[in-house]
């Protein structure tokens, strides 16, 4: 019974394509899976928009949307109707072709990233040998659409927002890649299915997830920081900060194109949370060995939605970082720490089982973290607060 529920989507798909002749079955299989992804994730996006607005509102001690539907949960329908029927304004001096293509490129490359995520047992759309590399290639292509949007709008603020966003995304891309390399080193494969398989065993009742190791914990924290920066979420949302740059690189977009940018940003959040779940949190495997009867896709989506909740929480709590602060942070703190994490992972791998490797690896990482924090704060002198008034 538990196994059937676990594989229910696969069984449903095979039953539906069983009606077709044998030659068409592989194509129909892939088409049905693609349709499922294209329906499920934008549906989750709609749910997330209302969760975010209500979550942020509660953190800021107000109510959030509560008029449309019970507790405001039909708000995405109202938002969808609004953005579909709004007039599509294109500035007259804008580059029409590039202006039109930018949101398309974003949405296409973000959807491609979902193809390699294993959303349940046997439920990855494509099991590529170099799946992780494919995912990062698609992530790198999203930066181009950000630049296209900013440049084609012929607007100083859009261009500045686009350049800031691209500089930030490139810096944190390196951090993202290096923190994933640690996982690849231990699991021995770039294929996401194999990485999840390596984490799906249990030692006692505890899972073998990589986050429960010293290098995995540090790697996950750095991956989370880089993921927040890659998707331009607070506290790294200077490129689209409302008080700074109007709306950054999507200032001159209205109606459906703006909705596409919004969709692209949230889908990028889902996709990178999915990757973080796969690499560090064990993908679709259960947290305790007595919970394996719960279907695997429930665990995957539960973990992804928890990550989204943490993203919303960070947005409501932390103040925005300035551009030079976040670039300094990336290149001078997180990147050296990532390299140290790689060496720590290698040490873990070659030391063999036992309590010694736990102590040594944790000590190295904790000591380096404390020392680098102290080193970075040497030149900062915090005196009493002083005020300067305009003359």
């Amino acid at each position: 019974m538990a196994a059937t529920l676990d594989q229910i989507f696969i069984l449903l798909r095979n039953w539906l394509t069983g009606f077709l002749p044998g030659a068409l079955r592989p194509v129909a299989n892939v088409l049905l899976s693609v349709v499922a992804i294209v329906c499920v994730f934008p549906g989750l996006f709609a749910l997330t928009t209302v969760f975010e607005r209500k979550g942020l509102a509660r953190i800021q001690n107000r109510l959030g949307p509560n008029r449309v539907g019970p507790f405001g949960f039909f708000q995405p329908i109202a938002d969808g109707i609004k953005s579909l029927t709004k007039e599509d304004i294109v500035p007259s001096s804008a580059n029409a072709a590039v202006h039109f293509l930018a949101p398309l490129v974003l949405v296409v490359t973000v959807f491609m990233g979902f193809a390699v995520l294993p959303m349940g047992r046997n439920m990855a759309l494509v099991d590529m040998d170099a799946g992780l590399l494919f995912f990062f290639a698609m992530g790198a292509s999203t930066e181009l659409s950000v630049f296209m949007a900013g440049w084609s709008s012929r607007n100083k603020y859009s261009l500045m927002g686009a350049m800031r966003a691209v500089a930030q995304m490139i810096s944190y891309e390196v951090v993202l890649l290096l923190s994933s390399v640690a996982v690849v080193m231990i699991s021995g494969s770039l294929s996401l299915e194999k990485i999840v398989d390596a984490q799906s065993h249990f030692s006692g009742i505890f899972p073998n997830w990589y986050i429960f190791t010293p290098w995995g914990f540090a790697g996950f924290v750095m991956f989370a920081i880089a993921a927040t920066a890659e998707t331009n979420r607070s506290p790294f949302d200077l490129p689209e900060g409302e008080s700074e740059l109007v709306a950054g690189y999507h200032t001159e977009y209205s109606g459906f194109k703006f909705a596409l940018f919004f969709l692209g940003e949230y889908l990028a959040m889902f996709s990178i949370s999915g990757l973080g779940t796969t690499l560090f949190l064990g993908g679709w495997s259960a947290p305790f060995s007595f919970l394996t009867w719960v279907p695997s896709w429930i665990w995957f989506f539960g973990k992804v939605m928890t990550s989204i909740f943490v993203f919303i929480w960070m947005r409501g709590t932390l103040p925005r970082l300035r551009q030079d602060q976040l670039m300094n942070f990336a290149w001078k703190f997180v990147l050296p720490f990532t390299l140290l994490d790689l060496m720590d992972t290698a040490l873990w791998r070659f030391m063999g089982e036992g309590w010694q490797r736990w102590v040594l690896c944790s000590a190295i990482l904790a000591g380096a973290f404390a020392m680098m924090g102290r080193l970075g704060m040497r030149k900062k002198h915090f005196g009493p607060r002083s005020y300067r008034y305009a003359e």
Binding site: D129, A137, L144
Partner: protein, 166 residues
């Protein structure tokens, strides 16, 4: 040759042509990105998945953005008053046509000794990894050194010079 090959080859060549012919420099850079994407698809057709994804990641994700930033920093969007082609454009075109004539003649003449359809090579990322730290470890280390030198060099070349008189 399959229809997919012809379409992707046409896309790549169109992107390359647009990259050298268009007036607006940023349009040229975006056409170059299309050419890179077409080449990545050609690599995937040739069963070189690692090279194809590395091409997307490095060229589209880094080199294209670098070119675009350089165009923005040097005000390349303003079209120059004398046109976009240099005074000696005919010589350049003749040389390029000559090179293509020689290469094309070499390929067509040697068709009878070129191999026919061969089996798909079964190459995994594991083999590439083993080769990189096994047989090709010296080039790997030299490339690492080269990239470090290039990074430091690019930063020094493009840095603002400190004013001498303060």
């Amino acid at each position: 040759m399959s229809v997919a090959f012809y379409l992707i080859a046409a896309l790549t060549l169109a992107g390359g042509l647009a990259a050298v012919l268009l007036k607006n420099t940023v349009h040229c850079a975006l056409a170059l990105t299309v050419a890179f994407a077409g080449l990545a698809l050609l690599f995937l057709q040739l069963d070189a998945q690692f090279a194809g994804f590395a091409q997307i990641l490095v060229y589209i994700g880094a080199v294209a953005i670098l070119v675009v930033f350089a165009i923005l920093l040097t005000r390349g969007s303003d079209t120059p008053k004398d046109g976009v082609f240099s005074q000696s454009w005919l010589v350049g075109l003749v040389i390029a046509a000559g090179v293509f004539a020689v290469l094309g003649w070499a390929v067509i003449e040697s068709v009878r000794v070129l191999p026919q359809e061969t089996a798909t090579p079964a190459v995994t990322v594991h083999d590439i990894g083993n080769a990189l730290v096994g047989r090709y470890v010296l080039p790997l280390e030299i490339v690492a050194l080269l990239l470090t030198a290039a990074t430091i060099g690019a930063v020094i070349v493009a840095m603002h010079e400190k004013e001498r008189s303060r």
